[in-house]
């Protein structure tokens, strides 16, 4: 029975045709793409603030059409390889939320916060590709967006459960669906041929110990998710602070003192990005 439900839901989730995004970022990117003087850097910076646009760009560049599936995990690289015409096409085919639910705005802010935190954690921990870490952070809750679009009744029941029983969104997902957004992330990552490091971080950010090949990037997303929740920046669907795996902190080679410095830096960054309209 449970298996059947999963197969059914998986089919429904992967059938997603279009994901809505926030009007603010889409407007900005549209303007930049139309301006002959704007640079790839400017456009990639704007796209990097939106999980849906970022996911679409990565999905496109990693599709077999281009001949290098699963290789590109940075937005800037994706833009260089896709070119302006394709970016324009992606933007035209993206719709905006008609009614912006407060919960969804909160999720966008949470995701951007997590991306920011991942970048800072990666730099502090001395990794060479902080941008890829940031992308993994940005996409870590994408499964929630896709589920909201494809399975709206489920979302309602999950939200209801979070409200009435005061449990975390993740726990509620498991009670209602039998699995969480991490599973949905894993389906999407494979279906869209995203690079292995992003896939692993998206699939295992709640269980970082299970990451096989990319434990660092997975641990970074896990720790960042915790930090963003601790700062109460944005909203991931509940008011709970997630559990922090000490092992994940170890994997990153961070000590308490490092975490404190990361939190200081994060506080400043959050001040900057909270000015963005959500």
């Amino acid at each position: 029975m449970q298996e059947d439900l999963q197969t059914l839901v998986k089919g429904q989730v992967l059938a997603v045709k279009d994901l809505p995004t926030l009007p603010g970022v889409l407007d900005e990117v549209t303007k930049l793409v139309q301006d002959p003087d704007s640079s790839t850097e400017q456009i990639s910076k704007a796209i990097s603030r939106d999980q849906v646009l970022s996911a679409k760009v990565l999905k496109m560049v990693n599709s077999p059409v281009y001949g290098f599936p699963g290789r590109i995990s940075s937005i800037q690289h994706a833009l260089v390889l896709l070119g302006f015409n394709v970016i324009r096409g992606i933007i035209i085919s993206t719709s905006v939320f008609d009614i912006m639910q407060a919960a969804m705005k909160g999720l966008w802010q949470h995701s951007l916060g997590c991306a920011t935190a991942c970048g800072i954690v990666a730099r502090r921990a001395g990794y060479e590709e902080p941008e890829e870490f940031a992308v993994a952070g940005l996409l870590h809750d994408l499964g929630k967006v896709v589920a909201a679009v494809q399975l709206p009744e489920m979302l309602e029941r999950i939200s209801e459960t979070v409200r009435t029983r005061d449990i975390s969104f993740y726990q509620a997902e498991k009670e209602i669906m039998g699995f969480g957004h991490d599973r949905i992330n894993s389906w999407l990552g494979r279906h869209w041929r995203l690079p292995a490091n992003l896939r692993e971080a998206m699939a295992w950010h709640h269980k970082p110990e299970s990451a096989q090949n990319y434990p660092e990037i997975t641990a970074a997303v896990h720790v960042s998710d915790f930090l963003v929740r601790a700062f109460e920046f944005g909203n991931a669907g509940d008011d709970h602070i997630s559990y922090l795996s000490p092992k994940a902190v170890n994997t990153l080679g961070l000590r308490m003192a490092d975490l404190e410095r990361i939190m200081d830096e994060l506080a400043e960054s959050f001040l900057d990005i909270s000015e963005l309209t959500f």
Binding site: G67, F68, R71, I72, S74, V80, L82, G83, E129
Partner: protein
């Protein structure tokens, strides 16, 4: 208004062999293009055309199905059976009754057909389209779909003859072979596809004005060529290098990424280390129209490339010699 394409969008006059007993057809066709754009050579018999077809093939063969010595389809198959002539586009001229039963186009290797009564406008555009389609298909690199050597040489020669100043960049990859050897050719092809996209988009991004000179071709393997105005060359090189160095890491396995390259052994069993692939770019300038022919650019680039390769990472060298 003149219905002819003005003046002509082919680089050089197109030779068309017309094999038909219908002399009206020749007269009809000849008035469809500007003088000097098309060159028609008329044959009444297939056998008369055959030797010339093999010896000095035209740009297009237009054959009537009804010929005194064989059918147009047979003539087409005779020519197309040989791989050296396969690319020669063939248009078959049919009568209405020929269309009663469906043709087996697997058996008859032609590229298009026209049928009686001929409409001048249709004939003109089908011939133009067939020629252009053949030009595009003929020289596209099968992997990257970028224009190949014929187009590269034609484009360069054209600029050289017009004494136009331009910069021609030869791009190739360092350590591509070791990557290919370790990961296999399909992973190697991924890198080539990525490089092709990268060069095309970088050139397009630097040269935003469509009227300005810009061209990208794929010589083959890990060799690419771009042509831009002299003033754009440096920026194109810098951007290609920056993007390539950032992107190429993602094409290595996780373990090699951490190592910073590939460890392997050579044929003698010695341990070797190959860093990440890098791009070397040699830029030849046709400053003041100093180049005499397209081949000269290739020779100069070969010399410059050695200099660019001396640098262990990605680098570019611009030809500093002045005419």
């Amino acid at each position: 208004m003149d219905a002819r394409v003005s003046p002509c969008y082919f680089n050089h006059p197109q030779r068309i062999f017309l094999v038909t007993v219908d002399s009206e057809l020749l007269r009809l066709l000849e008035q469809l293009w500007w003088p000097g754009c098309m060159e028609f050579v008329h044959f009444s018999r297939a056998t008369d055309a055959l030797e010339m077809l093999f010896e000095n093939p035209p740009d297009l063969l237009l054959a009537d199905q009804r010929l005194p010595d064989m059918t147009g389809a047979q003539l087409a198959n005779l020519v197309k059976a040989e791989n050296v002539y396969r690319q020669l586009p063939v248009i078959l001229c049919l009568d209405h009754e020929d269309m009663e039963y469906p043709w087996d186009w697997n058996e008859v290797e032609v590229d298009d057909f026209l049928f009686r009564p001929f409409m001048a406008a249709e004939a003109r555009d089908r011939i133009n389209l067939t020629l252009l389609r053949a030009l595009r298909a003929l020289d596209a690199n099968p992997l990257s779909k970028l224009p190949g050597n014929t187009s590269i040489i034609q484009r360069t020669q054209d600029l050289v003859e017009r004494k136009e100043a331009f910069a021609l960049g030869y791009v190739d990859l360092d350590h591509f072979k070791s990557f290919n050897d370790k990961y296999g050719f399909s992973r190697g092809d991924e890198v080539l596809m990525m490089t092709a996209r990268l060069i095309v988009n970088t050139v397009r991004d630097v040269v935003r004005d469509k009227r300005e000179l810009s061209f990208v071709g794929h010589v083959g393997g890990d060799d690419f060529v771009f042509i831009v105005a002299e003033k754009r060359a440096e920026e194109v090189c810098r951007r290609i290098i920056a993007a390539f160095d950032g992107i190429v890491r993602g094409f290595y396995d996780q373990a090699d990424r951490k190592e910073g390259g590939i460890r392997s052994t050579d044929r003698k069993g010695n341990a070797c280390y190959f860093p990440f692939m890098a791009v070397s770019i040699a830029v030849v300038l046709n400053h003041g129209g100093k180049l005499k022919h397209a081949g000269e650019a290739a020779t100069i680039a070969a010399g410059l490339k050695k200099k660019a390769k001396e640098n262990p990472g990605s680098s570019y060298v611009i030809d500093q010699r002045r005419a």
